[in-house]
Symmetry: C2
DNA sequence: GCTTGATCTCAAGTTAGGTTGAGGTTGCAT
DNA sequence: ATGCAACCTCAACCTAACTTGAGATCAAGC
């Protein structure tokens, strides 16, 4: 089979934007963060590989699951650069993400149950209430915006 | 019964911080955002009411559920200022929060199901994959950080 | 009266995740 | 060969949710 890079496989940034639904500036931003590493045309314009579309799709999915770009980069280290990920690659990542999802769902369900308990009791004493647990917050540190939804 | 404000009921900011687990600066910040409105001592120091502890607790809970401070303020408009919220006040808000919780859980479960589908199929074609749905993102607009977990 | 710790205000800095704009270059179609 | 859209870089700006620091004041114990 032919593994040569044909012109059709080198995608300029605008088309990349169209195909992923992202803005051009966001794509450049992701490159800056080393989430994608396009090659350059002779005239220094970005040229993306097909497999980059999938990488970007992955970024978007992971973001919806609440991962930060940093965490996403960690996950992506498992993906081969330039090579299209295999079923095996993808399954490994999916499993990792699935675990996060499960954890997050679980946490929300626990919160919901506690909230229900509060509604039931009228919850006029949050000090005693299980849903308000200051200890959960003592671990937070440093400047910058807090991760609003942490796990 | 005695409704007079005794000294014990006027809490300085440091104690407030201890009791809520927040930093002093965060409490001042919340005041700036009008989420709490402490009175002042003769020497211009903040004095919080007992009911403010509950308000702050509420803020923290709501944050954990993914509400922004702006949204929290909206919810809090339902709470009386200075007066301790009644069981009725609290139930109304709880219900509103519960609805958000349910929605979020639902969304995550849908995502999980789609992810499972992907794992099953090896998902080597994200373009066709249901989990990657660009249309969801077309509505996003404006500058600033994206709401990573939106509903 | 003095010291010490808690507070005060106000300005500036931080992180994440981008956007906006200026000023210049490329690449494709005519 | 020329025009024009698409591209480039770099610096500055943006929001959310806070923190940090400087310089001043307050409150309480000794």
């Amino acid at each position: 089979m032919d593994t040569t890079l044909s012109k059709r496989d080198l995608i300029p940034i605008g088309e990349m934007a169209r195909r992923t639904g992202l803005s051009v500036s966001a794509i450049r931003f992701y490159e800056e963060k080393s989430l994608i590493e396009p090659v350059r045309s002779p005239g220094n314009q970005r040229r993306f590989l097909r497999s980059d579309i999938r990488r970007v799709s992955f970024i978007l999915i992971a973001q919806q699951l609440g991962l930060s770009l940093g965490e996403i980069q960690d996950e992506m280290r498992r993906l081969p650069h330039g090579r299209t990920p295999t079923a095996h690659d993808w399954r490994a990542i999916s499993r990792s993400i699935r675990a996060r999802l499960d954890a997050r769902i679980n946490e929300l369900e626990r919160t919901r149950d506690r909230l229900d308990g509060c509604i039931g009791c009228g919850c006029l004493s949050l000090k005693k209430c299980a849903i308000y647990n200051p200890d959960d917050r003592l671990a937070s540190e440093g400047p910058g915006p807090r991760q609003v939804l942490r796990d």
